[in-house]
């Protein structure tokens, strides 16, 4: 453990912007990807459900 205080840890030896920027950006990208995939899955399921309900009603559908 080389950190004597929280402020020293956050300062990253003067490279705070670069180090925290890299880690923060990586985290942000991961969160965005997971969230975007959740959205895509919801959309895909909704689409299948819609097609199903159309064919249940005996409707011809065109895409």
């Amino acid at each position: 453990m080389q950190w004597n205080s929280w402020s020293e840890f956050l300062a990253m030896g003067g490279y705070a912007g670069y180090v925290w920027g890299s880690f923060g950006l990586t985290l942000l990208v991961i969160i965005c990807e997971v969230f975007a995939l959740r959205l895509r899955r919801r959309k895909a399921i909704a689409r299948v459900k819609q097609l199903q309900s159309w064919s249940d009603q005996g409707l011809e559908y065109q895409e």
């Binding site: 840890f9 030896g13 490279y15 920027g21 890299s22 880690f23």
Partner: protein
Amino acid sequence: MSAINWFKYAAPQTFYPLAGRLIPWLYVIATLLALAGIYISFVIAPTDFQQGEAYRIIFVHVPAAWMSMVIYLAMAFWAAIGLVFNTRLSSMMAQALAPTGALFTLLALVTGSLWGRPTWGTWWVWDARLTSELILLFLYIGFIALRASIDSPQRADRATAVLAIVGAVNVPIIYFSVRWWNTLHQGASINMSSAPKMAVTMLTGMLIMALASWVYSIAVTFVRVRCIILERERHAGWVRQLEEVKS
């Protein structure tokens, strides 16, 4: 016997529930590994003798750069399998890998830039390593764009497969660029022929972060391939019978 099994798992309707069962576990493992990796990166790994704390960017930069290349090779592999055997799932796998690979390439480039500025003194140079990694990003974007531009999924599978396979030559170029040419980018700290040029705790942190990236990549690829299956097989009877669709 084994061939029969392989083709059984190559069917989307077998793979879909299997991947669904694995995904939560993969997410948990990836999170635990990432937490352990971050702890080592910031608490256990010591300061570097020449770069001070700036070197800690290595813990995200190197795993991202590795994944950018590994995912491309996996993508080209599945695309080639899909092209040769005409297996639907293989092409879907290739399609599912591309966005994650592109994101890791982008992360490798941006974190590299954030690392280069304080250490080298520049955000960007056109040396062989950086240029070939940028070409990799364009290959991913080209792969995704080509698919988007072709309406028929089967034709898109074939066209993108050719692009993925041809582009694969760029991966060894990226990897060996620092040996073949004079570059500003330093050589590899880890290679097959010599001992790692890193202190053990630093190396451990980097490898655990790399492992976390692997598991994460598999998890999100499985999630995406399930989305693709739902999108492309939406007319199939088994899709209509799925629990998530009926409820």
